[in-house]
Structure formats: structure tokens, C-alpha cells
């Protein structure tokens, strides 16, 4: 019996008590909300940490508690939280959990219990990570890349407890991500409803699907490096630790290879960029198509581009290591692969723009965020082409140009999609609309603000301002104008940081007081908007699973008045719609 049929015949065991419904829930929608809220909470902590750092850079000495150690701890935790615990968790655990079963027409994930465990392991990873703020020595301050030997050598903040908790937390997170990833991939492969071929899946599902496969294969590299570094730290082995003298003492380590750690870390680290970016690509494609009332341009190309980017992202990692002293031929190889990956990526950008061209663009809040994403990603991607070339990278390496690049492409761009996605699916998740004015205010402050923050950093980088410095006073090569620019950036960064409360308030208020949204406020064609109940109830689809007859991008179909055709509309129903539209037009002409 096919899985979809089995799902129809099996009885649904609806959770009855509060605990099983909202806390120990196995329902993908509840788990998605749990993942999202936890990720957003921990993300807010990371925003506060960045505010503290900016205070130190813009107005040195203004915070009494901010010494070099605290600065590096804030920097490390900010980076790690944003990349792993916010973006990865939110795209895969949040959006992935909510959207995959609804978009492919399943009742739930195929392994609901494992899915629940995935969230609780993630929460445990977050708790272990945050607990490092409260242990002697505080969290690790070794930078988010945790390079040895520095990260486990005396003198680095958090060398006793912080680094151990960080590594353990990462290992737990990887277990959580693996449990989640197995669910997402198996659900897409096995639990699609009647008629839902792989090439009828929305690009959101394709993006999350590919990112999950990548996460399953790339996270082991981080796991391997975390375990081996824990051995070096706790058992005194020398996997990564070379022979060295620390604080006048010859250490017991010998012969280890710090470069080996860098290879392992970036073998995870670069795919990680696309683990975040591919879901963003997918979500933004759906947002653009829906709000421009146009079918996505080049659907098949978009899918193959997602797959190509996923595969290529495993052979570009060493472009993060151009200054590690590698063989020049090695650098040449990785520069070439890095530039090749720009081809499918550019293809996606062209297709988004062509989707917009002559579309019936509705400048809703989600659409604003989606449009902002295209621009931001383009800017961040172009500076990536600079840095992908060894010869340009070497002088720019470790300057603010790099900070500007990766914040644009990997920070701001995906976060814009996160916001766009939340605004877009909020009516389905809660059944209520958000406040449009507050949403637009939030958009403009965030969009313009992030440009004001990160655009000038390119200039600072070209001027030679190094990254990772705790204080920039008394360096002859840093002019006064750079200090003034830094003060400006700090003021904007704090404004943007505080303005995120608008979003928090809007969401919290709208959950209870927002206008009822109806089942399909955007007039979207994909399956998640065709559920019998809004918000969808346990089991999603009532007695019968939906039957899919078409792709999810039938917008503005010629000859039909309604400007979207849901995936569930059959050929016969479409013919009826066409005839009705024709009849209405004839009646109009007569009157």
C-alpha cells in the first residue's frame, strides 16, 4: 500500500492533554513553532551581543565591563548563534517542519517521535550553549571558527569551561539536526500525496530538501572536528595541537595539525552557507511568484540550480583558507570552483527578476522583504566574486570588507527571507493577519538600516581596517574618518536592533488581536493554503488527503478570471472555471 493511502486509512491519534498538544508534541506544526520561537529568542540574544560589540567599536570605553575578553566572547557567541542556532535551526527546524508536510500533502513528518526528539535535543544544545555565560571564565572567545591551537590554549577567554560547553553544544545540535534532516528528506521522498511529483513541489520544499541532504552530509565534519578537539582539550591528545610553548611552559602536545581542523571545519562551514541560503532561495521564489501573481520563471532551471549549488558547495571550502599557506595550485582550483558556483546562483537571480518582469506586483510586507533579499543577495554575492579570487582575497583578508561581504550575503539576506517568510505564512500559522503598517515600518528600518551598517564596511575594509580588533585607537593607518564612520554604524546598528521589537510586538499582538485572515489571504496556489482548516488542525487534511493536479505556480492563467489556480484543481474543474470566466465576460459585453 502506498504511504499516502496508508495515511488515509490509519486512525489519527489526536493529542488530548495540554502537555502532549503543546509541549511534548509530535505534530510538525507545533514543533515548527517551538523551533522558531527558540531560534528567534536565541537570535535576539545574538543581536544584543552585536549591540555591545558595536558600542565598543563606535564609542570605545563607553561600556565599563567591555574588556578585550568580553569583546571576543560576545563576537564568538554572536557568530555561532546567528549561523547555527538561529538561521540553520529556523530554516530547517522552523520553516522545514511547518512547510514540508503541508506543501507535499502529508499528514505529518514520517517519524514524528524522532521529530519531537530533534526539537528537544536542539533546546538542550541551546541551554548548554547559553549556560557557558554562567560558568567560571565565561563562554569561549576564540572566534566562531574555533581555530586551534588558540581556542584551547591558555589566555583565550573561556578556555576552561566555555570551549568545552561550546563543543558539546555543537555535538548535541548536530544530533538534533540529523534527526530533523532524516525526517525532512524521508518525508519528501516517501510521503508526498497523490499526484505530487517531485517536479510539482514548490521551490521552498526543494530548497529545504536539498539543504537537509547537505546538512546530513556536512554536519559530520563539524562533529568530527568537535570530537577530536574535545579529545585534545580533555584527554591531552594531539590531533590538532602542535608542539608549543604556552605562558613559558612546554606543552605535552606535539605534531598536531591546526590546518587539518581548518579543512574539517570549512568542509562543514562552506556547505553551511548554502544550508542557510538554499531554503532562503526556495522561500523567496515562492514569495515572489505569489506576490507578483506570476508563475516562477524557469522552474526546472531553478530546481537544477538548487541541486548544482548543493553539489558544488562541497568543493569550494578551501577558499576560506587562502591565507593558510596552501599550495598555489590548490588555491587556483578552489578559486575556479568558487567562481563556477556563481553561475547557477546568478541564474536564480535572473529568474527571479524575470518572474517580476511585467508581473502584477503587490508590494505587501512579505514581497518587500523578498525584493530586498534579491538586491542584498546580489550585492553580497558580487563581493563574494572579489573574495573568491586569491589575488584579491589576500590583501582584503581579515579586513572589514570580509565582514561586510558575509554579513550581506549570509546575514542580512537570509534574515530578510526569514522575516518575509514569517510575514507570509503567519496568517496560515495563526489564522490572523499582522499589522501591515508596523510590518512596513519594520521593513524599511531593517532594510535601509542594514545597508547603512554594512555598506560603509566595504569602504573601511578597503582602507585596511582589520577585523577582530577589540580597539582601533592609536593606529596611524586608521584615519579619523574611519572612527566617525564607526560611530555612525553603531548608532544605526542600535536603531535597527531596537526596531526588531516592532516585529516582536507585531507578531505577539497579532496572534491575539490581528484581523481574521481567512484560509488564503494572498491567493496562493500551493497546497498549504488549501487546508480545510486555518490554522491547520492535527493531521492537516481531514479525512482525505488532497489530490494534486498541477504545479504550484499557476498565477494569472490566460482565460480565467481568478488570478490563481490552486494545485488541487483538476483539468475538468479548470475547464469549468474557464467557461465561467468566458460567460462572465460575455455577460459584461452585453451589459
Amino acid at each position: 500500500m502506498a504511504y499516502a493511502e496508508q495515511a488515509e486509512t490509519e486512525a489519527l491519534h489526536e493529542p488530548k492533554s495540554f502537555l502532549t498538544k503543546y509541549i511534548w508534541s509530535q505534530d510538525h506544526k507545533v514543533i515548527a513553532v517551538q523551533y522558531s520561537l527558540t531560534a528567534l529568542f536565541v537570535g535576539l540574544i545574538a543581536v544584543v551581543l552585536s549591540g555591545l560589540m558595536r558600542m565598543q567599536i563606535g564609542f570605545p570605553g563607553s561600556l565599563a565591563f567591555m574588556d578585550a575578553s568580553t569583546y571576543y566572547q560576545a563576537m564568538t557567541m554572536h557568530g555561532m548563534i546567528m549561523v547555527i542556532y538561529l538561521l540553520t535551526a529556523l530554516f530547517l527546524g522552523g520553516f522545514g517542519n511547518y512547510l514540508i508536510p503541508l506543501m507535499v500533502g502529508a499528514r505529518d513528518m514520517v517519524f514524528p517521535y524522532v521529530n519531537m526528539l530533534s526539537y528537544w535535543f536542539y533546546l538542550l544544545a541551546v541551554v548548554v550553549l547559553l549556560s557557558s555565560f554562567f560558568v567560571p571564565g565565561g563562554p569561549t572567545g576564540s572566534g566562531w571558527t574555533l581555530y586551534p591551537p588558540q581556542s584551547i590554549s591558555q589566555g583565550t577567554p573561556g578556555v576552561e569551561w566555555g570551549i568545552v560547553l561550546m563543543l558539546i553544544s555543537l555535538a548535541i545540535f548536530i544530533v538534533a539536526a540529523t534527526m530533523g534532516g532524516l525526517n525532512y528528506v524521508t518525508t519528501v521522498l516517501q510521503a508526498r500525496t497523490h499526484g505530487m511529483t517531485l517536479f510539482r513541489m514548490p521551490l521552498s520544499v526543494w530548497g529545504i530538501f536539498m539543504a537537509s541532504i547537505m546538512a546530513l552530509l556536512a554536519f559530520p565534519a563539524l562533529f568530527v572536528s568537535a570530537v577530536m578537539m574535545l579529545f585534545d582539550k580533555l584527554l591531552g591528545t594531539s590531533f590538532f595541537m602542535p608542539a608549543m610553548v604556552s605562558l613559558g611552559q612546554q606543552l605535552d602536545h606535539q605534531g598536531g595539525s591546526p590546518i587539518l581542523f581548518q579543512h574539517l571545519f570549512w568542509f562543514f562551514g562552506h556547505p553551511e552557507v548554502y544550508i542557510v541560503a538554499l531554503p532562503a532561495f526556495g522561500l523567496v521564489s515562492d514569495l515572489i511568484s505569489t506576490h507578483a501573481r506570476k508563475n516562477i520563471f524557469g522552474y526546472r532551471m531553478m530546481v537544477w540550480a538548487i541541486i548544482a549549488i548543493g553539489v558544488l558547495s562541497f568543493v569550494v571550502w578551501a577558499h576560506h583558507m587562502y591565507v593558510s599557506g596552501m599550495n598555489p595550485y590548490f588555491g587556483f582550483f578552489f578559486a575556479v570552483t568558487t567562481l563556477i558556483i556563481a553561475v547557477p546562483t546568478a541564474l536564480k537571480v535572473y529568474n527571479w527578476v524575470l518572474t517580476l518582469w511585467r508581473g502584477d506586483i503587490h508590494l505587501t510586507v512579505p514581497m518587500l522583504f523578498a525584493l530586498a533579499f534579491i538586491v542584498t543577495f546580489l550585492v553580497g554575492g558580487l563581493t563574494g566574486l572579489f573574495l573568491g579570487n586569491v589575488i584579491v582575497d589576500i590583501p582584503l583578508s581579515d579586513t572589514y570588507f570580509v565582514v561586510a561581504h558575509f554579513h550581506m550575503v549570509m546575514g542580512v539576506a537570509p534574515v530578510l527571507v526569514v522575516f518575509g517568510g514569517i510575514y507570509h505564512w503567519f496568517p496560515k500559522v495563526t489564522g490572523r493577519m499582522f499589522n501591515d503598517t508596523l510590518g512596513k515600518l519594520h521593513f524599511w528600518i531593517t532594510f535601509l538600516g542594514t545597508y547603512a551598517i554594512f555598506f560603509p564596511m566595504h569602504y573601511l575594509g578597503f582602507q585596511g581596517m582589520p577585523r577582530r580588533y577589540y580597539a582601533y585607537d592609536n593606529y596611524a593607518f586608521i584615519p579619523q574618518s574611519a572612527h566617525e564612520l564607526n560611530a555612525f554604524i553603531t548608532v544605526v546598528a542600535l536603531t535597527v536592533g531596537v526596531s526588531q521589537l516592532l516585529f516582536v510586538f507585531n507578531m505577539a499582538w497579532s496572534v491575539f488581536k490581528g484581523k481574521p485572515a481567512g484560509s488564503n489571504p494572498w491567493g496562493a496556489a500551493s497546497l498549504e493554503w488549501q487546508t480545510p482548516d486555518t490554522p491547520p488542525v492535527h493531521g492537516n487534511w481531514g479525512e482525505k488527503l488532497p489530490v494534486v493536479h498541477r504545479w504550484p505556480y499557476d498565477y494569472s492563467v490566460p482565460g480565467i478570471d481568478q488570478d490563481f489556480v490552486p494545485q488541487t484543481v483538476s483539468a475538468e474543474e479548470l475547464e469549468h472555471m474557464r467557461q465561467r470566466s468566458e460567460g462572465a465576460r460575455i455577460a459584461d459585453v452585453k451589459t
Binding site: 514520517v110 570530537v227 584527554l235 591528545t237 594531539s238 530546481v303
Partner: protein
């Protein structure tokens, strides 16, 4: 580019089945619960393969450093790895038993299924005990985890492999629980099947690890050259 092209770009239905009857293209056909579990397990095995592949790459890279003292030298513990051969035999017997159980389940022979399944788990426990015994020998001969990178990798790789088998034994224990609760054979056979697949994988993995750990530095050097690590 004309307007129509953009309106209906891409030939409208990328599934190539714009108006096709959905009954004929049922996705995931034949995918019942046990297929789903098998797919999940195979994906998990891909993850484990990635994990060990990276461990082994790290092993080869690290083995090319000057301080590496091979465990296969004449006086070193793996000069004659007979204990590892004994342990390997336990794991092979464990796999044979589980395969037997799997085949008996297919033929609906409950007793043979149960006996072979329990015996298979017993041999797996014997394998793990044997591995701990090897560790004890290492410690007794002064080959501690931190005294040389070759030792570190030996403990690390056998440990991580053992932990995976221990995880398998948790699944095995749950299946034994099903046997005790007298769950009907069709339900039982799905669990037996999954355990058998996992065991076979771990056996294959063990032979890869065993072959590598007991190889000579010259072999490591050859592999390192092939991988461009030297």
C-alpha cells in the same frame, strides 16, 4: 521576449503532466511504513558513512606527520592483531545470526526468527566486550590514548564504531521487548529487517577500520598520495 512567453514560461507544467490524471502518477508508490523506515535507515547510514569518511581522511592526513608511531611495528600491539580477528569473528557470527533471523521471518518461522535474533545480539555484545578487552591490553602495554596519535585514532575509531553498535543494541533491545510482548510476526519482521541491515553495514565498516588500523605506514603514505595529502 513577448508577454505570453513570460506569462506561461517553461511550458506551464514542469511536471510534464499538466493535465495528466493524478491516479496514474501516485507519488511514493509502494511506500508503506516499512519502506519509509528503510529509507530513513539508509539515509542514516549515508550520514554515518560521511562521518567515518571524514574521520578516516583525518587519520590519513595525521598519519603523515613525523611523530606518528605505527601500531604495526614488531613490538607494538597490532603487530599480530589476533584479538581483533577474534572480535571480527564475533561480529561476523552476529551478522550471520541476524541474517538467519531475517530470512526465517520472511518464511514466517517465529521460533527460528526469535532464537537467531537473540543469538545475534549476544554475539554483538561479545564483540563489544572483546573490543574493551583490546583497549585494556593497550592500556596494560602503556599505549594510552594521548601517548601517540596512532593510539588516539585507534581508541577514537574503535570507540565511535562501538558506540554505533551500542546504539544498534538499543534497537535490538526494543525488538527483544516486542518479542517478550508477543508482538505478531509481521510487525516483528520489520524491526528484524532494519537491525539486520544496520548490522551488515557496521560489519562492513568494521572491516574497513580494521584494514586501515592494521595497515603499515607505507600503505598510509600511498593513500595520502592518492588523496593529495602528501
Amino acid at each position: 521576449m513577448n508577454r505570453l512567453l513570460l506569462r506561461n514560461a517553461d511550458g506551464a507544467d514542469p511536471g510534464g503532466s499538466w493535465n495528466r490524471d493524478p491516479e496514474g502518477i501516485q507519488a511514493g508508490a509502494g511506500a508503506d511504513g516499512s519502506h519509509v523506515a528503510k529509507t530513513g535507515l539508509r539515509l542514516f547510514l549515508a550520514v554515518v558513512s560521511s562521518l567515518f569518511f571524514l574521520f578516516l581522511l583525518a587519520f590519513i592526513a595525521r598519519s603523515q606527520m613525523a611523530d606518528w608511531l605505527p601500531l604495526t611495528e614488531p613490538m607494538a600491539p597490532l603487530a599480530n592483531p589476533w584479538q581483533l580477528w577474534v572480535n571480527s569473528a564475533f561480529l561476523v557470527l552476529s551478522c550471520i545470526s541476524l541474517q538467519w533471523s531475517r530470512m526465517a521471518a520472511r518464511r514466517a518461522r517465529m521460533d527460528a526468527t526469535v532464537i537467531a535474533f537473540v543469538v545475534g545480539g549476544g554475539f554483538a555484545i561479545a564483540f563489544l566486550a572483546g573490543q574493551l578487552w583490546v583497549w585494556q591490553q593497550f592500556v596494560a602495554w602503556g599505549y594510552f590514548v594521548a601517548s601517540n596519535p596512532a593510539n588516539s585514532f585507534f581508541y577514537l575509531l574503535t570507540g565511535v564504531h562501538g558506540l554505533h553498535l551500542l546504539g544498534g543494541l538499543v534497537a535490538w533491545g526494543r525488538t527483544v521487548g516486542k518479542i517478550l510482548r508477543q508482538v505478531p510476526l509481521p510487525q516483528l519482521s520489520a524491526s528484524v529487517e532494519l537491525c539486520a541491515i544496520y548490522w551488515h553495514y557496521l560489519l562492513g565498516l568494521w572491516f574497513v577500520l580494521f584494514a586501515l588500523l592494521s595497515s603499515t605506514p607505507q600503505t598510509y603514505e600511498t593513500i595520502a598520495r592518492l588523496c593529495g595529502l602528501r
